[in-house]
Symmetry: C2
Subunit: 435 residues, 2 copies
């Protein structure tokens, strides 16, 4: 009858060590979100299929996990699908609950999403997203606060990062002034490769992507942009002189950088004109964060959108949000060995005993320690001492309190420090002081 147990491809079990590490990441992020007044919500794993379809492009529609209805009325029930991201459910949530919501609305959401992608290294069919958004205000203080949050989260995690920032209006302006307004994405994809392949190859690719020689020539000042952020913005103002949209984008960037300076943000921030981001709902600032000491791509990203809720009947609500990539942050912390050591075990001490009477004695000590909020375990049987010590070892419990008849008589335990191997007889009061 026995079945060989396994889990679906692209999904994962998280054991206690992974969970402690994941909780460390989520709790760090939540702690920073709370400092800025963002509050948590959750939405159901399944949404009506109509809520999801058509929101992620043709490719996305194919990657939706659909849910089959069980039971007799299966045919009559509306179709459902598993959440594909947290953005569309959030837009649905805002529209559905708009009467109860206080705008500007600051929310965060940390939940799994599901995609029927081909599983491969670092790509899963179930993974957590961690989104933070403020919606219902076009104030650039939204951008500033997200940048401050990025700074503080990575400061707390100990990861050195660079935040790349750009603005969709600038990209649109560039495409507009060179006379190729429909080529915004093509241009940025090509420019993105500048560091890797050089100016000549980028220009060749631009031609391949349908730009003419004049347009490529007009792009050269942008490819050559260098210097400080102020220098870059100055040049852009000249180039974009005839694009209202482009100039608006420059003005937004100027204000964001002014706010960054006024509030003393210490983060590495680079105005990166090659940053485009794929999602087509962005309309203003866009961000990506890269770890400086690990080769892993973007670990946080986001941007401003002006009409996310329009599809659900609430147009013209501007918002800005970012998403922390928990899996990649986990990988960076692992690679750089930055997880705190203390996460391994929450248990401070194990009682190991030589007999039933000693076990009862240990239980009453354990009660006293727990009443002082100290996490302890009692090995549930007077098993061989080697077995009990092995348990402490494997669970990385730092102290073992050994109880034999001598300890019971003297109202003590034999305390063993599992790191140093040191042993000494201690009273309950002494034990509390040590722990």
């Amino acid at each position: 009858m026995a079945q060989k147990p396994s889990i679906p491809k692209g999904t994962r079990d998280f054991g206690q060590v992974e969970m402690a590490r994941r909780n460390y990441i989520f709790n760090t992020i939540k702690g920073v979100f709370a400092l800025y007044g963002f509050q948590q919500i959750e939405t159901p794993a399944m949404e009506n299929i109509g809520t999801l379809m058509g929101k992620y492009g043709e490719e996305g529609d194919k990657l939706l996990f659909r849910i089959q209805n069980s039971g007799e009325k299966a045919a009559a029930a509306p179709e459902k699908g598993l959440r594909y991201d947290l953005t569309v459910p959030f837009a649905r949530y805002v529209v559905q609950h708009r009467e109860e919501i206080t705008f500007p609305y600051k929310r965060y959401q940390i939940q799994p999403v599901w995609r029927a992608d081909r599983p491969q290294k670092g790509r899963y069919r179930e993974f957590y997203q961690c989104d933070v958004d403020v919606i219902g205000s076009d104030s650039l203080i939204g951008e500033l606060e997200l940048i401050q949050i990025v700074e503080e989260v990575y400061r707390r995690l100990g990861i050195r990062v660079c935040l790349h920032i750009n603005n969709r209006k600038i990209l649109a302006g560039i495409a507009e002034v060179i006379g190729a307004p429909d080529k915004m994405i093509d241009i940025t994809v090509a420019i993105d490769k500048l560091d890797k392949i050089g100016v000549e190859a980028v220009n060749a690719e631009l031609i391949e992507r349908g730009l003419n020689n004049d347009q490529v020539a007009a792009l050269q000042p942008i490819l050559n942009l260098s210097g400080t952020t102020a220098d870059k913005l100055m040049v852009l103002k000249t180039i974009l002189a005839n694009s209202e949209t482009g100039l608006k984008g420059v003005a937004e960037m100027e204000e964001v950088f002014a706010l960054i300076e006024a509030t003393g943000v210490q983060l590495n921030i680079e105005l990166d004109l090659c940053l485009a981001r794929g999602l087509n709902y962005y309309t203003g600032a866009i961000f990506e964060v890269k770890a400086l000491d690990a080769q892993i791509g973007s670990i946080t990203g986001g941007g401003r959108y002006d009409n996310l809720t329009g599809i659900f009947g609430l147009p013209g609500v501007s918002g800005v949000g970012i998403s922390f990539g928990a899996d990649r942050i986990y990988d960076v912390l692992t690679e750089l060995d930055l997880f705190p050591q203390a996460l391994q075990s929450t248990t401070q001490l194990l009682f190991a005993t030589f007999g039933e009477a000693e076990l009862r004695y240990a239980l009453s000590w354990a009660k006293e320690l727990r009443a002082r909020n100290i996490a302890v375990e009692v090995y549930p049987e007077p098993a061989k001492m080697k077995k009990q010590m092995g348990y402490a070892d494997e669970k990385a419990i730092p102290y073992v309190a050994i109880v034999g008849s001598n300890e019971m008589e003297t109202h003590t335990v034999m305390l063993k420090n599992m790191t140093t191997g040191e042993q000494k007889q201690v009273t309950l009061d002494e034990l509390c002081t040590i722990l």
Copy 2:
């Protein structure tokens, strides 16, 4: 184009107030679990359909949500279903990871489960379970620790409860000694109604359920059981004298009650021979916890099982576990008005400003406060003061710091206590002291 947004029947959105309350429940429970060395794991939302099918009875199979495969290779991919409870995935986890696990294995798991039940008041298609188990030991210290956990969780939550305890071996013994070993469930279902319908009606129901007059007569001493736990166990020993299983059950209960007494457990505990619990994998102690001040049924339940992992190829591993019903605990705390007031908002203070310069001034103060780990918000625009104050009101933010030109000149803010209405001008240092 606009769609009217909604969510599938039987599912729920959780807004910030509900989330804060749910997190309060989960964090309280987690804090107690940690004191006893239980560690968290998570399993995927979807399991292979073979893992789930046949584990919940015919009725359960019908209530599984199945997942349709998307994409080209849909037909070839193995079928999957959404997690129906946390017990079967836990058994699968233990067998799959047995080489990495240190036994006795103490784990907890807090995740949603999905059932295609007909939605109705208090019954959802997506709801959280909160399970804690120790597996790989038949020591009754497992039972003791779960009882201590129940005591401490409800002490911390402020809910008065009674824990009902019984033992499947006693129930089996009773059925055995009256010569109806296959009628264990029928007998307990009938006895369960004793308080409501009286002895005569119970006896009639027992006959209806297939017992003969002699068997019903033999049951009378059990229906009349009263007195202390020790009294009840004494009578049971006489009644069950010829059942090895029954006597083993009595001995287990005696030991559990001895451990309870030795460790000074203060919880209301009642040996309740009418408690049966439906799940057929229980083999020893069974528990249910009821709130004394709310009519809501069981809010926590569980028991010992001797062969949960057998179906996945690992027989003979004994364990004991309980599950906290988060939704019902939420309802009890709401009904009895026991949620702490401070959960409503994490933000301590809102900056409300009269102009752009004041806004910048507020941003630099906000930075100082956040650096001291104080959660504050800056209203992102110098909107009408009424609007800014309304925002603080709706979010239940206890203090507003109003900034005008006078405050900027004197390096202060006008601090308004939103509860009392009091206002006074304070410096940054004074503000930090107040918050």
